[in-house]
């Protein structure tokens, strides 16, 4: 399943979550500081949130 983290394509398995996408993008540690994860509509999302094919998430 292809998702985009900060507009960079990442491949994860079906059933994997925001956390896995961040691990794959080597960005999980960013969320340990004050950074948060948002969906493409600007809503904050939890690390265990489900993703879907083509999902775009942003760490900021």
């Amino acid at each position: 399943m292809k998702v985009y983290v900060n507009d960079i394509p990442i491949e994860i398995l079906p059933g994997m979550t925001v956390r896995h996408a961040l691990i794959s993008a080597d960005l999980l540690r960013e969320t340990e500081s004050s950074k948060r994860v948002f969906d493409e509509w600007g809503n904050e999302i939890g690390l265990n949130g489900a993703l879907f094919e083509g999902a775009k998430i942003y760490v900021r």
Binding site: G15, M16, D39, N43, L47
Partner: protein, 532 residues
Amino acid sequence: MATKDIFNKCIELNKILNNICIARITVFCLFLLLFLSVPYAHSEQTVIRILYLNDFHGFAEPYKPFGSDENLGGIAYLSAKLNSLRNERDSLLLSAGDMIQGNNWANLSQGESVIELINAMKFDAMVLGNHEFDFGQDVLKKLISEAKFPVLGSNVENLDLVKPYVIKEIAGVKIGIIGVVTDDTPVTTHPRNVAGLTFISPEDSAQKYIKELKGRTDIIVVLSHIGYSADRLLPERAEGIDVIVGGHSHTKVLSPTIINKTIVLQAWEHAKALGVLDLTIADGRIEKYEGHLEEIRPELGKDDKNITAIVEKYQKKVDTVLNETVGEAEADLDGENVRKRETNLGDFIADIIREESGSDIALINGGGIRASIRKGEIKEKHVYTVLPFDNYIVAVKLSGRQIREALEHGVSAIEEGAGRFPQVSGLSFTYSRAEKPGSRVKEILIAGNLIDLNKEYSVATNDFLAAGGDGYKAFGDAVKSSKDFSIVGGTMKGEKLIYSDSGRWLRDVVIEYIKGKRIISPAIEGRITETP
């Protein structure tokens, strides 16, 4: 005709005309009354409140999320807020799923704690989430039978006790509530948990039951566990939905989103927020809406004492379970040296992962093992300390060449004591730190034979490495090329993926294994040998 007769006729005619006039005035007055009463009826408004929660995952106690300086959540604090909001007007309390699995508080009673909790909070309806299936169908059916509210799942076929929809009436407003769950459920829990069940398209199911409810309700709510993105598409594919209360993507929808006149909502996760939607209904339609999230923070003395009692009762049970003896170790189990050499605990856990997934070999990161276990009684809490992360087992096919690359990566930062150092099962290898990183691995044997670099082997690991964690690129590459996932022989399979069970934490698999064996005595077997 005599003058007298003419006079009498005139009097009769006058009477008739008078009667007609009175009748006209009466009819006019009736029309006037009706005319005045109609706008009055139209202006009669009812305000109802929908309160909602999703993806609780058993997070009963407040906790400090990643990147936050303060504790958030706490179901007893949420319940106190809920009670005060309920007191303000007629309300409905809905759950959009994934309630019973996740945190130890829920897992160690297999969801029983959550059912007692949400019964006490008087939920009006709940939709199944994909993680509601994680303890298996027998447990799920038992929990549903204990629930004092309808459990919905219109697109799940062959599951007893689950209803497609329910009609609730509050303040004279009839509300049809249809439940839909993600049709990805079979790939997000172990396939044995959904054996015999069919998950049809949520859109098709919603359409079907919207038609069935037409004319029987004033408004239609879809209680959805399909994720915010799919919720946004649902109104375009299934017309007639007034409100979607969603879950699955853990999305913090601060204020209602409007898609084709449908109100789309979601209340984040882990009881860190309670959703509030006020609807003004007139003439069977929504005239006005107003919604927001109430963020939940623990405040001294502002908890719902009844709910606190339930939280504490099950927390004590958690403590009891964690103190239960699950087996005995005949040797110290070494979790201290897992980042620099083979250890018996590393071997033991890698063996379980390989056996559980039926793979040729297993490779895990030493950094995933966080503590040792002393010789003697093994308590459940010891295993939780060893494996504190919520990891699950994944197995993929890797070529011999990729396995070599993975092992090279594993020993590439041994000087730093990096967590990537591998613990393995089903293979042995030698390496030399005198060589440059990338050229350190020498001989690799799988099942006693030299590795074939061009052959594919099944390799079990955890989801962290499967996502490319600790820099394990080989697993990431396998995932990239693994397409066309399907359920084969009871597990999810793809071109390269052969096993994935996201609903069962690795530590729970290890505990079950130890319980089965009772006495364990793993020893170092020479799987990883450092040469000069």
